[in-house]
Symmetry: C2
Subunit: 202 residues, 2 copies
DNA sequence: GCTAACTCGTATGGTTATGTACGACTTCGA
DNA sequence: TCGAAGTCGTACATAACCATACGAGTTAGC
């Protein structure tokens, strides 16, 4: 747990090393989720042993990298204005979330593999919370649907985001188009519309 | 390429072995995408060497397993009635696709890792084609949207499916609920609705 | 029944990655 | 300046896994 903000009893150069390692881990794992500890140490311009001095296991390192990415993400997302029309707020939120996801999707996959089951989700609580609250507000305002579990709504947005990131990474969509597609798709999923268009309910 | 239907110059017991191996590979990889060749051979009740006698590399084996799963899937999907209201046809198609995806998601991931980039997509051409044609028809009938690239529409359905499978696997949704959610979500994504509800285009 | 095809155990080689041990060198910091 | 903290190379201990080699035994099929 000394990964993010534990004992401040570290020397300055150690602090610097850790920062470089975490940064390199983010970068490396974001382009290749299977990057080895060795690769990351090299990318950080640091010996492998130094790395192991600060992170006892690969899992610890991956978690630190993910935590750092999430911290940066939180910083960006927290500055977004979520007031006003919930649909437009959603578009703003997804616009930023999209680029964050595109950057760190591989890192997310790496964490999924290296960390114990459920840990990734645990670390994701804050961003998920933000989305959930926006959806709730939109539901309260009567613009978002209420006929599906809210957890599904939150998660499916996540999967759509991930899908778009994958399409972009594979070169099957360019970034701008992907962003537009994500937003339009998310709107369609969430926005409540006249029941006479639905074939299903009574 | 002797994976699926090549030279019939094989003895009966070899044929049987191959069938058992492919079946075991499907099963094993569907529950653990990282199952080793050893595990699969054991599951097939066959020596590892026998396996290597028929599949020279792990990749060849994985591809055979995926091809088999796809063949079975095609069989099921081809029996679905896709005529009539495109929205209802979509629901029927997704109902079956969903369970197939839930079964074989891990296998898909295994293939993604073991096969060269793009190969999985290549093998998936047929099911993707089926979905695409249905969407086109729905567009022609004026019930499906046309403001997003059709390739995105096809792919996003795939990602929603995969997401639901993941939620189900992780125990966060039960199968019935997931199926309902997938269908409702897919309908929302595809169905065209009155432009006055859209904030964006003129 | 005879041959070729098939099965399969054991052993071996090679690769790759994680994590530990040791020890020498360098840099921080009081 | 001097001790402790940090750096880092090399080497080592495991541990998987993939793939090949050899060779003896078994079964199919004509």
């Amino acid at each position: 747990m000394p990964t993010v903000s534990a004992g401040p009893r570290r020397r300055a150069d150690a602090e610097r090393s850790i920062a470089r390692i975490v940064s390199a881990a983010r970068k490396s794992l974001s382009s290749d989720p299977d990057a080895s500890v060795d690769d990351i140490a090299k990318a950080a311009g640091v010996g492998r042993m130094t790395l192991y001095g600060h992170f006892r296991t690969r899992a610890e390192l991956v978690e630190a990298a993910l935590a750092d990415a999430l911290r940066a993400g939180e910083e960006e997302l927290s500055s977004i204005d979520l007031t006003g029309d919930a649909r437009e707020a959603l578009a703003r939120l997804l616009g930023s979330s999209w680029s964050l996801m595109a950057e760190s999707m591989a890192l997310l996959n790496a964490a999924q593999k290296a960390l114990p089951a459920g840990r990734v989700r645990e670390l994701h609580a804050a961003p998920a919370q933000r989305v959930e609250e926006l959806i709730r507000r939109g539901q309260g305002d009567g613009v978002f649907r209420t006929d599906l579990p809210i957890s599904w709504l939150v998660n499916v947005l996540h999967y759509v985001l991930k899908g778009a990131a994958e399409e972009s990474r594979a070169g099957r969509m360019e970034a701008g188009g992907a962003a537009r597609a994500v937003i339009a798709t998310a709107q369609s999923i969430l926005v409540a519309f006249p029941p006479d268009l639905h074939p299903s309910p009574k």
